[in-house]
Each structure stands twice: as structure tokens, then as C-alpha cells.
Symmetry: C2
């Protein structure tokens, strides 16, 4: 007995020795020791490395990463050779390749563009080699990361013949990080940028950030919050940004800054920031010059203007196009771009908030300079658990539209709920706008193929913070990963991405990956069900958006109130966006509008987004709307519980540290799903006068209890 | 050539593989592999482990730590035995020891008290064993940590005969951590407490925090800022604190909370928080009961009252004693204590700020309940680079006084300057109050030996944050370590402590430790010289206290202005605290007052603290005060440069990650020392009308340049 306890203590002790290895820091670059059989396979295929000219800093990083990967996965780095030998791993640009071999189809290589790569088995000097080929050093780096990923997935190298190039040009993270270190909507702790100690102190984490992103093909990062401070453009802060840019540059990651539109006023005492004021225009030109002098590969500006209190061209009666073009003009000589956000709604406009961006920007189609991207959120409101796609997609053929997804889970349970977001992203990307007939998907709008745009982009609002695991929870890492994969290829499949992530993050074993993938794939729908089922939206408590607040109806601006969005009363619930209501439906193409027009036949996942319906409205299931609503809420809670059970059954496959952390979060998720369901039903039952159906558990507390709960220190606010 | 570059890349690559091991996370628990010769010595002396009854959670942790240490230092854990054998390592309480051996002097053991331990070679069952003996499981844990420390220092185990017990009872960290995650005066990132996710998510770091502190003998932690929020005492937050308390409990660390004096009003709508109001008294009794129900070993309250805007008993015309006693009464049934801060000064009192605490508290001597400690900052102002000791020490014989040191470097360069604080702590502890004749040192006041107090305490304002290395810089860890060592033994020597810390943190090699120790030992004096030489104080810029601001004289309260402290004008400089001035000198004993009375003979390190002197006053060196001041500023800059040079010479002994991080910080320190010197001299030259002496470099910029600098995002504010 005693000895048994002792053994347990010793086991715990030894576990704790290695526990820090499983803190999630390594993300998808864990490079775990490979199983023997696969390791043999690799060792037969790759015996040495021919690095080529490593004076190029990007190639040097590719070699470094390969050697790190081989060392960790196979126990030692590869011997270095200067020329091709048997079983060499070679990194060759298409130019270099053409000089030494005609074994590879050069035309195929040309198609890969500036960033693509080819992984293949080839013969060089009559020797069988594994080849990473590309048209640029950057492509070689991406190829090296891909080879390492395929090795982690235990893909047979013998059969390797794999080329890839990104379909979208600007694949960018948006950090909503403030200069004081806080992160708006950040649930992974404060910012990883130490603005205070920059540029003097370069935290090694900056390099690991670049590695993690480059491994996914992310090639840009906006360092500061869209709700920006002018001082970010002050020389002292540009030097800080430059220090980060220098770390990121060889990884192919450009630095962008959010620009405050009235910076000339705040920094240099200008009387206005009017885009028609020549002095203002000159100020921006001078500022661009100043930036490019110390950040030669600076990406450009992201701008939130005339939205939620931010200054903008509208302050002077100028259009968004005039504002964006002034900045674009300043950046143009250096190849910089402007990412101008379409997320605008006005406190003075009584129009349906969901319609305002379209109304504002649709008339500006074609009026932006060539180096402007219009950055549009995935849905017309604001990163809800589910929204229909934004009606601007497909409606501005003469303007390149950039997608803005939210990776951080502002409205999906912060860092304590599991919600795998790839299905949400994919749902939007695959949505058909019918702009040029069937098949005009949102993906085709943003990758430029529908309207022939060369400048294309996609942005994800980062979920990255100082937390050791970067994203606040292990499963939140999957959303960063999935965003990167979909930014590279917006037609990729969320299930494949999820499976790859699981294998990279935990283990290849199917007994683990399959049930866990199932849990992930259903997780976002669970959140929809226990928060905002049947097309409801924006019912979260005010400000911090944590927990339910459907009862809130007394805020200064109507569209800040959850009650604005659900419009529930004793007669019914839902936002009428048909002809009898705001007619937001008319902002979509005819085909799409038709598909949502009839509540009896439409996809009920969007039902109350478009329709205000009586509580007794018959759903397709035959149940009443009220019954259906209750069932969705209940189902959400059941799904949360099911996830918890699944996870418990997976304990044998997961290290203790990550198992426990996830289990603790799932307990919170189960508790909060119940809270959401109970509070929401208590409220809707109250306003509708409908009783909780027989056989259904009534809410634990009365409505007042839920209304009184307050969370003054909810994060990210 | 190419191959050489290649080799460099590979070397860098391999270095990066292990680089994360040297991120500073492990503090003084690194347990590096021991050199072979010493390892042999250990292996001969200790061959197995007899753990005893590990059902005790504290002992289980001692065993776990020993096994972790042996595994890391020697490659494998110790085999477990149930009874003493040859070369066993045994953990025995005095009780258990008495039953099986009379080889050890029991009287000696009794003297060790509740927390002391004995490490010795002994014979048990006629077998030579290494013995950790103590009167409690807690003592055994401390003994285990000490054994592991001695092994890291490569002390010969054969000669081990070492007993120790703490001289101060409450050895406490004060976290100025806010509930939103920010840390007042924190320069190591935001709080390590994730109040939001507690109690649901237990970050493994909480355990490592407890290990690091227990290794030093720290046995208490105040979780929240002294500028506290009432909600910390709300049930939801008590549950969060309880989750931390549960992690810390087996390590012998008690949790304390800062209590907001008007909590009954803010939490429960009381009309007042008057200590004479029976309902208020009852509220605190109920609150104490509620806390102890879920935190059975709760330590008690820390209170900042009627100071800098905090509510307190003075709001109702009651004394600090009446306020403290009300809380003490509530905690008494459970063994809790009150730590009542003496850091008070009033906006309505025109008296020398440095005198006010004494005036307020001296008359209350003997009026506090037995479970109250009065927590007094080391000096009469506020954690300056140098202050004379606080005159309350020695002046309140009937009240146990608790020392409050600041570990975080609010006034000593944040996290970007090296300033080893043990010499500062030691200087205060060794100061002689002459309260009961010569030898009445501050250390004797606070360890209770001077006045026969049993309840004793020492607090350090923590420098801990989420930064991977905990303290913002590697060298800041030394201050946490030194505080812990001096809390255990206030007579310990700062040089010995520094040498131990270096060996635990870097390496035992003398070629490294001796020059580095020299650098550390001079570092605080360097800061004094380039910031506030010759007894000057509080010249830092307003609010954030970053950088020089001697010119500031327009703030709302006089004592917020640096000009209040230096009183420089064209005639002279310094604060007259003699009879002709505020006569703060009279608050000290006759002997001390005399020693500071004559500016011509006194210790010039305190010169301008006590005296206002003409610029041409002759210093003991024969130079004028103005010349001397310039020389001190110059010397400070030279010392910073010398530290930088020393560090550069130590590159061969330090891993790349920690070498670079420290080198980057030293560059900032050199730059900022120069800034401090230049700005201060520009200002003092301006007010005095004295020219910068011939042969001395004039300030780089004019005074206006320095005045205009602003730092809106300085941390910790």
C-alpha cells in the first residue's frame, strides 16, 4: 500500500519533469520524435542536406528550421553537403534547378508564382534526391516548412510530389493590441509585443511568432489595434515597429500599422485631417517616406475610419474613397497598400445596422486607387456565432475586397469554450453570391478570380497573447492554424485542416484524432445552439460580450442593445429583414434573396436573422418556433456535455498538462452553456409569456438572478 | 568560406534547439547536471531515499522535489527504500527520529522551532545516512530545498552539518496585482494570477510559484494590490483566492488579501464603515467566517487605509488602531492577522511628508491588538534608491513592526536597469536605531528580539509578472531571491546571497561569479549616483516614475513634486530636516540624530536628505557641493558603462539567450544613465546658475528637450 503510494508519487514527480514540454508553446512545430518505422523511411530517403547559398537570410532560416526539425524528430541534424549526392535533400530555386537538371518540368514551376513551392523526388546528377524547388527563397522556406509538416504527419516521402501556391496574396493577422499592452478582445493575456522595451530588447518569442506564422504561409501582421493611437506613427514607435519588422522580414512577413486618420492633428498640431488639405496629404507622404526609410518592406496601413468614434474623412464631408486614396497615394511609391475597413455604422443613421456598410460602400465601387483593399467582415453585423455572408461580397466587382475573420472568440466563449472556427470560415467562403451566376462563391470574390483582381487579401483578428500557449487554450490554437491554412487556400476543407492540426498538436493515432475531430467539427454549432440559435445574433452582455444579456435594452445607441437584434415580445421574435422590414435581403443577389425569402422553406439556421415570426410559427420539424428554440438551447448544452465526455475518454492519448487544462475549460464550457440556456429561456419565456415546455428542465434561477450578474473584470473589453 | 558559414548556421540552429531551456523560467531551481567529480561524491553519500509517510502532502512535495532534483542533476531519481540502509537519504521528524536513533542531539532539534531543519550525516540502525530532520513536515520540506540548493552549490555532503530556522515569522510577498490583470509598479508584464479563469483553470505556473517561494522560505503571499477593490472580498473572488490557497497550502504558503476598508459599504450597501458601528464590526466577523470556511489556513488582511485616497477609520474620526483592531477582532478566532500599513501622508497636512507616519503612529504604540503587525516601509518617503531607515523603527517598542521592502524597481530603473537590492535591504536592516543602546539594529526590531515580540514579519513588494523569466530580467530574479534569504535571516550577507544566486542561476565558476558579483554589488550605488546622489530623493518623473523629472513643481499636492524634495534654487539644494527646518531628525534617537546633524562630518550619502546647503558648501573631499554632485552623476554613468564592459567580458560563461537579454538591457541602462545625468545636470545648472565644470561633458541637449519628453505608456502606472 505504502509502496504503491510511493510509486505514484515518483510517477508524478517524473511526469512533472517533462511537463513543461507540453505547455503548448511549440504550436504546430513540435517536431516530436518519429516512430521507428517511419523514421527508417525518412533516413533511407534523406541522408544529407545540400543547402545552397545560405548567405540569403531566408534560406538560412529554412536550413535552420530543417535542422531543428530533423534534430528533434530524428535525433540529429542532417550532414551538410555542397553538391547533390545520393539521398540529398536539396533546396533549389527554379533558376538554379534549370542549370543542373532537366528532370523537373519548368513550366510547372513557373505556375507556382512568387511564393509557391514544389516538393518532389527527382534525379540530380543522376542521384535520387528530395527536392524543394521554388521561384524564390521565400518559396523554399515555405517548402521547407511543408516538408517538415508532412514528416510530422508521417507522409511517405517516397511518394512526395506535391506543389502548392497561395491563392490569396496578402495573408494577414490583425492584432488588436494596444500600446499599453492590453489586447482588445484578447483572451490569451496581454500583448506579446513589449512596446515599452522595444526596440532595445528583442524577446526571442518574436522569432517564434514569425516561425509559427511562416509555417502557415501568413505573410503580414498588423501590429496595433484598429482603434489606434496616433503615437503609433510617431518616430519613436516606428523604430519599435522596425525592430519587429527586422525579425519578421526573412520569414517573409511584412509589418503593417493601423493608422489613426487624424494623426497629423494629434502628432503635429494640424488644424484638420481633411484629405483635400494639401498639407495633410503632404504630411502622409512625409510619414510614408519616414517609415520606409527604416522599414524598407513596410506593408502599409489598416484603417478604421468613421466607425465607433474613430476619426475619418467623413468628418470633413469626404468619402471613404477620398480618405483611403490619400493614404494610398502616400504609400504608392514604395509599394505599400491600404486596407480600409468597411465595418462602419453610424449613430445618426436609424437604418438597420446590418445594411449600413453596403449602403456606404457600394456606391464607391471602382473609386479606390489600385493599392487599396476594402476589408469586409465575414458577416454584416459583427463576428457572431453565425451570420449570413456580408452582402458587399459580390456587390463591388471593381474593388478588391479583403475578408476579415475573427480568430479570437469575442462572441464564442472567449478562451474557456472550445469552438473550432474553420467550419464557420468555410461556410462563408463557400457561400454562393451568384454575382456572376451560380458558383460565384465568396472565396472567388476574395481570391480575385471572380473579378480579375491581382491585389487580394484576407485578415484574421489574432487570438494571440502572452499566455504560454499563445492562444489562451490549446484548442484555440486550431483557429489560428485553420485561418492560416484557409488564407493560403480558401477552398481547403475544415475537416482535413482539423485532422492535420490534431496530428501536429497531439498525435497521429486515429483513436485520438477521429473522436477529437468529431468534437471539434460540432463545437461551433454547439455554441450557436446554446447562445444564438435559429439565426439570432448579438445577444451577449454589453461591452465585454461575456455571457447572455438578451434583456439589455437601455443603452445609448439602439444597435448596442441585444433587444435591437432579437426584437422579441409577446407576439414573436426575430429581425424582419424582408420587404416588410428593413429589406436587407435586397442587398443580396436575386438568387440569394429568394433563398432566404420564405421562412417556411429557407435554411432555418438563418431564420430569425431575416424574419420576425410569431412564437407559434411552424418550423420544418413541425414544432412551434418556441419549442424549437428551447430544443436548440437544450441541444447546445447536451453537445457541450458530450464534448466533455469525449475528452474524458481520450485521457490515455494526451499528456497530463494539456489534458487537464482542456478538461478544466470544458467544465467551464458546460457550466456556461447551461447558464446561457437557462438565462436565455428565462428571458424569452418572460417576454413571450410561453411556459417552459413540459418535460423540459426549467432554468435554475429566476430571470432577475441572471440580470443581476455582473462581471466588471471580464477580459478584452 | 562557404562551409564556415554553414557551420555557423548549424551551430546557431543547434543553439536554438536548447535555447528555451535558458529562458530563466526555472529561477533557482535549475538543477543543472552536476560535474562528474561532485556527482560521484553525491552518489557515494546518497544511494537511496527513505521517504517516510508520504500521505502528508507537504512531505510528498518534498519527496517530489528531491526526485526532480536528483533526476535532473544526476540523471535518475533515487531508489525508494522503506527503512534506513547504507547511504540512505532520510526525512525524519524529531518525533520519528527519537524513536529510532539517539545519534542526534534532540535539544538542538527543539531549538529549530516549527519551520527549522537540520541537515546532517548520522547513523541510523548503524548505517551511515544523510538526514533531513525537523519538528514539522514543513521543516522537512525546507530542509529538502536546502539540500538541493547545497548540491547545486556543490557543497560536500560528507561535511554536511547545517541547521537553520527562520528569524522572522511572517515572510510575505505583497503583490500589487489588480483584478484586471495589471500590476501596479509591475515591470514583468501583467499578473500571473488569472483572476478571470480562476477557480476553474489552475495554471501549472501557480505550483512553480509556490516551489520557487518555498525554496526561499517565503510563507505568505498577499494576492491583490494594497490599493484594493472591495470585490476581492466578494464570495466569487474568495473562491478564486481559495483555489490558489489550495495549491500553496502544502508548500507552507498562506494566502492573505488586501482588504478595502469600506468593503461593507461597497459590497453590501452599508451607510458607513465606521469601526464603532456594531453592524460594521459584525460584517467583518461574518466575512472572516466566510473566508475561513473555504480557506482554512487564510493568513489575514493587509490594509492601506487613509492614504493616497484609500478609505479608512480616519473617515469617521477613528484612529488607525481602532480600524486595525476591528479587523483583528474578526480574524482572531481563526488565528488570522492584520498587517496595517504605516505608509500614510495627508493632503491636508503641510508637515514634511517624511515625518507624518511617525507623528500618526508613534502615539498609538501599544494600542494595537496582539494579532496586528504594523507594516512600515524601509524609509520615511517611498522606496527611493537610498533613504535613511524609517524613524518608526525603534520608536514603537510595544508594537510589532513589520518591514516593507520593495522588490520591484519602481524607482530604480524598472526592468531595464540592473540594480541588486540586497545591499539596500542590508543597509537598512543593519542600521542602528540605538533604541536600547548601541546594537539596536532595525533587524532586531523586526525580528522581535529587541522588544520581545513573538509575532514578527517582513514583506517584499513582488517583482513578479507573466514574463517567462518571472521578474522581467534575469538579474531582477536576484532581488526576489535576496528578499527571501533576508526574510529568513535578516543578518545574512548580501555578498554571500549574491554569490549563491549567481551559482544557482548561471554557474559555479569563479571566473564568472566573482566579476559578476562585483558588478551586482556596485549596481545599486550606480543607480543612486546617476539618479539621486548625496541624499537626494524622489526626482523621478511624475506618476510612472520613469526617468528624471527634477523640474516638476506644478502638481496638485506639494509632496508629489520632485521640487518639494530637492528644494534647489540659486542659493542651494537639499531638504532641511534639522532644527532649522522640519526637524525630522528629532524623530530619531539622540545618537542617530547627532550622527546626521553636522553636514561637515556626517555620512554624505544622506547629506541632502537632512540638509539644505549652499552650492559652494565644502564636501569632505574638499570639492564644492556642485562639483561633488556633478562627479557623482558622472560616476554613475561610468559605473553603468563598466557594468556593460564587465558583462561583455563574461560572454564565454553565459548561454546566448541570457547573455543577449542582459546585454540589451545594459545598453538601455547606459543610455538612460546618461539621460538621467544629462537632464539632472541641465536642470541643476539652470536653477543654480552654476556652469558645468571645465573638463566635464555638457549635457547632450538643452533643458527644454528633457522637459518635453513624455512617456504616455510607461508601464506599472
Amino acid at each position: 500500500m505504502r509502496i504503491l503510494t510511493l510509486l505514484l508519487v515518483i510517477a508524478a514527480s517524473l511526469a512533472s519533469l517533462s511537463s513543461h514540454a507540453e505547455d503548448g508553446y511549440d504550436l504546430w512545430l513540435r517536431y516530436q520524435t518519429l516512430p521507428e518505422s517511419y523514421a527508417k523511411d525518412v533516413n533511407r530517403t534523406i541522408k544529407n542536406l545540400v543547402p545552397g547559398d545560405i548567405n540569403d537570410p531566408t534560406r538560412a532560416l529554412a536550413i535552420e528550421e530543417l535542422q531543428t526539425g530533423f534534430s528533434k524528430m530524428l535525433g540529429k541534424p542532417l550532414p551538410i553537403k555542397s553538391n547533390a549526392g545520393k539521398a540529398s535533400l536539396m533546396l533549389l530555386t527554379s533558376e538554379a534547378l534549370a542549370q543542373i537538371s532537366n528532370d523537373v518540368d519548368t513550366a510547372k514551376l513557373t505556375e507556382l508564382g512568387d511564393e509557391g513551392y514544389l516538393l518532389t523526388q527527382a534525379k540530380i546528377n543522376n542521384k535520387p534526391v528530395t527536392l524543394i524547388a521554388a521561384n524564390s527563397e521565400q518559396g523554399l522556406l515555405y517548402g521547407a516548412f511543408e516538408l517538415l509538416q508532412q514528416m510530422q504527419l508521417q507522409t511517405s516521402l517516397k511518394e512526395l510530389n506535391h506543389s502548392s501556391s497561395p491563392k490569396i496574396q496578402r495573408r494577414v493577422l490583425n492584432h488588436w493590441d494596444n500600446l499599453d499592452g492590453s489586447v482588445e478582445r484578447g483572451y490569451a493575456g496581454s500583448s506579446i509585443w513589449d512596446w515599452w522595451e522595444l526596440p532595445g530588447v528583442i524577446n526571442p518569442r518574436y522569432k517564434d511568432y514569425a516561425r509559427a506564422n511562416a509555417a502557415l504561409g501568413i505573410n503580414g501582421t498588423v501590429l496595433n489595434n484598429v482603434n489606434s493611437k496616433a503615437i503609433s506613427l510617431d518616430h519613436r514607435y516606428i523604430e519599435k515597429a522596425a525592430a519587429l519588422a527586422e525579425v519578421f522580414r526573412p520569414y517573409g512577413i511584412k509589418v503593417y500599422l493601423s493608422a489613426r486618420f487624424n494623426a497629423p492633428m494629434e502628432l503635429d498640431g494640424f488644424e484638420n485631417a481633411d484629405p483635400q488639405n494639401p498639407k495633410v496629404r503632404q504630411w502622409w507622404k512625409d510619414k510614408a517616406k519616414e517609415i520606409y526609410q527604416i522599414i524598407p518592406n513596410f506593408g502599409g496601413f489598416l484603417v478604421k475610419a468613421n466607425s465607433e468614434g474613430q476619426p475619418g474623412p467623413g468628418d470633413y464631408g469626404r468619402s471613404h474613397a477620398e480618405g483611403a486614396n490619400m493614404l494610398a497615394e502616400a504609400l504608392e511609391p514604395y509599394g505599400g497598400i491600404v486596407m480600409w475597413r468597411a465595418f462602419v455604422y453610424s449613430e445618426h443613421d436609424a437604418e438597420d445596422r446590418g445594411k449600413q456598410a453596403y449602403n456606404e460602400f457600394k456606391p464607391l465601387d471602382g473609386k479606390f486607387k489600385d493599392n487599396v483593399l476594402l476589408q469586409v467582415k465575414n458577416g454584416p453585423i459583427d463576428f457572431q456565432p453565425r451570420e449570413p455572408y456580408h452582402p458587399l461580397f459580390g456587390a463591388m466587382p471593381n474593388t478588391p475586397l479583403m475578408m476579415e475573420f475573427q480568430i479570437t472568440k469575442e462572441y464564442l466563449g472567449f478562451a474557456t469554450h472550445i469552438a473550432y472556427l474553420a467550419p464557420l470560415y468555410q461556410e462563408v467562403l463557400a457561400a454562393d453570391t451568384f454575382a456572376k451566376g451560380k458558383g460565384s462563391t465568396v472565396a472567388k470574390v476574395i481570391d480575385g478570380s471572380l473579378d480579375g483582381h491581382k491585389l487580394t487579401g484576407i485578415a484574421g483578428v489574432a487570438n494571440i497573447g502572452h499566455h504560454r500557449n499563445w492562444s489562451g487554450s490549446i484548442f484555440n490554437q486550431a483557429n489560428w492554424y485553420a485561418f492560416g491554412r484557409l488564407a493560403w487556400d480558401p477552398y481547403a476543407d475544415s475537416q482535413t485542416i482539423g485532422r492535420d492540426w490534431l496530428a501536429l498538436t497531439f498525435t497521429n493515432e486515429e483513436q485520438f484524432t477521429e473522436p477529437t475531430l468529431g468534437m471539434m467539427m460540432r463545437s461551433r454549432e454547439a455554441v450557436v445552439d446554446y447562445m444564438t440559435p435559429l439565426g439570432l445574433a448579438h445577444l451577449m452582455a454589453t461591452g465585454h460580450h461575456y455571457g447572455p444579456g438578451p434583456w439589455v435594452s437601455d443603452l445609448g445607441r439602439p444597435e448596442w442593445n441585444p433587444a435591437y437584434y432579437h426584437k422579441a415580445d409577446k407576439n414573436g421574435i426575430g429581425f424582419d429583414r424582408t420587404k416588410t422590414g428593413s429589406n436587407a435581403l435586397a442587398q443580396y443577389s436575386k438568387e440569394v434573396a429568394q433563398s432566404f425569402a420564405d421562412p417556411k422553406t429557407m435554411d432555418e439556421r438563418y431564420l430569425l436573422w431575416f424574419h420576425h415570426l410569431p412564437w407559434d410559427f411552424k418550423l420544418q420539424s413541425g414544432k412551434t418556433l418556441w419549442q424549437g428554440l428551447v430544443e436548440h438551447y437544450d441541444h447546445g448544452v447536451e453537445e457541450a456535455k458530450a464534448m466533455q465526455q469525449t475528452w474524458q475518454s481520450l485521457k490515455p492519448y494526451v499528456d497530463q498538462e494539456r489534458f487537464t487544462d482542456t478538461a478544466q475549460r470544458l467544465q467551464i464550457q458546460v457550466d456556461e452553456a447551461q447558464w446561457w440556456r437557462d438565462a436565455s429561456l428565462a428571458y424569452f419565456s418572460h417576454v413571450s409569456g410561453k411556459a417552459i415546455p413540459q418535460g423540459t428542465t426549467p432554468p435554475k434561477h429566476d430571470l432577475q438572478y441572471y440580470i443581476k450578474l455582473s462581471f466588471p473584470y471580464a477580459p478584452g473589453n
